[in-house]
Symmetry: C2
Amino acid sequence: MAIDTKLTSQKKDFPAWYNEVVKLADLIDYGPVKGTIIFKPYGYAIWENIQKIFNEKIVNDGVENAYFPVFIPESFLKKEKEHVEGFSPELAVVTHAGGEKLDEPVVVRPTSETIMYDAFSRWISSYRDLPLRINQWCNVVRWELRTKPFLRTTEFLWQEGHSVFETKEEADKEMLKRLNNYRDFYEKVLAIPVFTGKKSEIEKFAGALYSTSCEALLKDGKALQAATSHNLGQNFAKPFNIQYESKEGKREYVWQSSWGISTRSIGSIILTHGDDKGLVLPPAIAPVQVIIIPICKDNKEKEAVLKAIKEITSKFGTDIRIKVDDRENLSPGWKFNEWEIKGVPLRIEVGPKDVKGKSITVVRRDENEKKQIKSNKLDVKNLLKEIQSNLFKEALRFKEENTHKVTDFKAFQKDLEEKKGFYLAPWCEDSKCELEIKEKTKATTRVIPFDIDKPQKGEKCFHCGKEAKAFVYFAKAY
Amino acid sequence: MAIDTKLTSQKKDFPAWYNEVVKLADLIDYGPVKGTIIFKPYGYAIWENIQKIFNEKIVNDGVENAYFPVFIPESFLKKEKEHVEGFSPELAVVTHAGGEKLDEPVVVRPTSETIMYDAFSRWISSYRDLPLRINQWCNVVRWELRTKPFLRTTEFLWQEGHSVFETKEEADKEMLKRLNNYRDFYEKVLAIPVFTGKKSEIEKFAGALYSTSCEALLKDGKALQAATSHNLGQNFAKPFNIQYESKEGKREYVWQSSWGISTRSIGSIILTHGDDKGLVLPPAIAPVQVIIIPICKDNKEKEAVLKAIKEITSKFGTDIRIKVDDRENLSPGWKFNEWEIKGVPLRIEVGPKDVKGKSITVVRRDENEKKQIKSNKLDVKNLLKEIQSNLFKEALRFKEENTHKVTDFKAFQKDLEEKKGFYLAPWCEDSKCELEIKEKTKATTRVIPFDIDKPQKGEKCFHCGKEAKAFVYFAKAY
């Protein structure tokens, strides 16, 4: 586990920096099958923290966890036309099992709408069975051509929530609620400000009536779809025949929404907060929040220092994730380097001098400045809170700095070359226009924000000059 | 969700009772692919409780959680001869992905030794990297011919722990420690007493040096392998080339152990504690520990009753899992029936009379007797503790009643027809003899217990008459 390599700087080669940091911080290893990754303990612990916090949120809100099979009959996928068109190029197919060729191949779930909704059609018979809110935490497989740790992997982990209602209005409300859950989670837990809004027809989920998403702005100026929430309308209810008897005794199709956040979120943390020294983890999800490094020349000194550390940490409270790095064969400098790369929010160094003077050295990962403080003045909880809010503030500043308005397509093309970020433009909402813009600039529509008024009558699409119907954010996607 | 069916009695048809109860208690639904099940929220919540308790145990003990890919190249499986022979009849194979035929088929993991150990060979280089203890909670797939909810399903959920050491002694010690973890977990959490010991050569894990297991005795007298812990020796270390440099600077192969418990454990709960009224869940893992049923004729009564319930439950403490069933369209009798089938440990009925007299009706699921008690005398925590320990006591009594010693094979054959249970017999440890016994009686060796002395010199195998080498438990497996 020797960390003897220096990280490539972000400025020099951002993708190289990313590939190096996920390995050096010991987050992942590569799996033997194309595009798969191994979540090593340090990387998986971040996911466990994300799971714990988000799961508590939705379960307290009445969502029920369940688990559906990983294998879906091919025929299920085919029941919704857009759905199968969207997913079939990415499917992994089991054709042989138990030593025999299967009569019907089964796919490894790329998402679970079809297998869940087949069951829902049996579970739901009356309005009394609604609303139904089912969630699962599981692995899914999408066989992608180009992969990248966390951001796009053959197999990834996620939660997929599936909600069922009597009316479109309820499904709309649920969809917005979950989108807001994700935005809050990104902002408050991952310290990442996001753009939220509606997806274009082209960018929506295969099978949805319409989709919404949270979009993060990464340090290289690119966009990352960070979580999605869809209104599925009755697009699945009809082919899967999910009907309920209404209060009035009529048979009606249900309205549905689905919503998900995945291990991609770990990638967004790295690409939002990381710096040339490595990861910078928000305290809320950092596997180790405080790393404590004893500094001592010999065993006698060590004893005194470890005793002092015990005293200091005993006052932290049980909910702080602390680690004392007392490995013997490594120098303090080596340890500083390792825990910096790993993005631990707070480092405390305790040496024999500190023991005598009752002072300690504290280094915030977001500042990288050594500060001496009296150990009885140390308020770890508050420091972590400050780091958390500082990371968000810094990311928000970056986001605002890199959000631009454009009305002229030529200027947009030129700006895209030089200036990072998201570009808000008046747009016609025409798919053909969208594809042309993509071809010319490699930028795609990210979201149509809810909190910005529609263009005024007479305003033109910045690309094709037709009537503008909405303001939309464009950006290059990761 | 109408529960209008009466359960078949256990005496009449035990397998039918089981198939009915898993559905009526709303634990599962069947998946569309052969042998798969859907863990419905109530069933999945039991698994979440199992996970939480066992995970805390091992993580506090220094085990690190990780996540490895679900896809394993076929060639990996083939590296260990016994391993591939054991698992190849049960593999699900992905031959096509991303719209193309794969150059090398990949299997959906039936267990993760091979993919983990390939990684371990990169992660381990020095004695300083040892011991290594990695665990994952995941889904695995084994394509079995005969399946049964929880007990044997095409896909199941489990934890698999994988530990790596410098010496055989350490691997032995770890194997025993995990076996004891499982025994403790079964006894203290699931209230199920188990037989523990070593597996025979034939019954061991494919690829292990030797295996141990916890075996549960079910109500129908059959045995269920409830958790396993293996010493893998260097059987995988050699083909996967997992070597470390010792303190003395020599290259050595590691010693390994692996250990697992699965969703089969839910089956063992049902089949140990269930009765003719349905499930009986140990409080430690019951999704709902206390069900409270308001009994009232009209809305005015309801208001007073719900207020009284609020008052009563406010004294329970936050760590008790309570549910108030205030559904309007169902009668109290219907609700009693439903929560009995679902095995909720404690039922409290609160009606308007109870409100006035400050007394309530309490029914323990393990007793099914109505008791009136003053609400200020209600000690829910203690009642749950009593139920938990009573369930264990009852299961232990049943286990002792159905554990027999045999020395005569003919008597054993006859007894097996009439008397349920585990039979301890002096045995030669010869695989040929074992297979003959299986053919004649359908009984298999379960475990060679650690806590029973070896046969004295001169004692003969109860079947073949050769020198007896060990006492072993025989039973028919589920």
